[in-house]
Symmetry: C2
Subunit: 198 residues, 2 copies
Amino acid sequence: MYEGAVQDLIDELGRLPGIGPKSAQRVAFHILEADSDDMRRLAEAIRTVKDKVQFCEVCFNVSEESRCRICQDTKRDDSLLCVVEESKDVMAIERTRSFRGRYHVLGGAINPIAGVGPDQLHIRQLLNRLSDETIQEVIIATDPNLEGEATATYLVRMLGSLGIRITRLASGLPVGGDLEYADDVTLGRAFEGRTSVG
Amino acid sequence: MYEGAVQDLIDELGRLPGIGPKSAQRVAFHILEADSDDMRRLAEAIRTVKDKVQFCEVCFNVSEESRCRICQDTKRDDSLLCVVEESKDVMAIERTRSFRGRYHVLGGAINPIAGVGPDQLHIRQLLNRLSDETIQEVIIATDPNLEGEATATYLVRMLGSLGIRITRLASGLPVGGDLEYADDVTLGRAFEGRTSVG
């Protein structure tokens, strides 16, 4: 509908996740009207990410070097390995400052409908890392949804024979939430996982 | 939080309209994982739009030349001028194929709260165009909201003394909608604008 360059931009933006045709049009017009330097910086940021950013050869977190900052950090605890689905999860856990071990990013979760099986995830590389003597506990921190649970179940079965302690993150009530708004499964888990306080 | 290039991209994406921090992160990771050629095309499309696309010197529609395709088209009716807020509105009207005149894009609507007064819109240029003898009817097609109505009222007052026919788009029930779901104002307008059919 639009003249060449505008329509090209709308088309390219429309291919991004969560950006429908209407949003793509709105963003395209914003880009058209925005400061040229700002938009050149955006274009440059996209190019730079594609040129410079790769995945860590050890843990598969995003990294600008062959090993990510966390894998390079000599002060972290080599005996603890936290397994997550995505790099975003690493960042979320890092923000809590409650974990000082290492990570392993699977690159997704088992999802047969989307054609993602164990072979599409970095599970083989996880097993290689576990053959190293230093890891004493694997913390499975997949998402608390269907795919994450399936992945966790699969990992527990795969790793069960290795003689390493395997743990999962606690399920329960989110802090700051109202009990009455918790869904049934969460409330059930909160009961199952209740802790003694006196 | 992320290493340089990834965080730079998240920051730049987060400045786009309608893209919050979570969406910016999701889009950034999509860009990271997507095909490099696709993403280079996106970066290129942003640059091209900023380099090539401008606003038509006659009607202020987006254009790759100093005059847009519609203004260059000799087959269109010079006696009809449709005034809209944005280039997007030109496209929406063009899709209907029910208008073959010319356009004038105001570049927004009067919105005192956002600091947009008549001087920030292309109203002076509209008056210049109307001093030309050929235009016989001005169709005001601003948005049917508060700002659009204010802009239309302002234009009617400005243009009233020029001796040109001034019209506005019909208000009424949207085709394909249910009468019972129409809001009061729309239903009221549909009554006021009722047409004789027999």
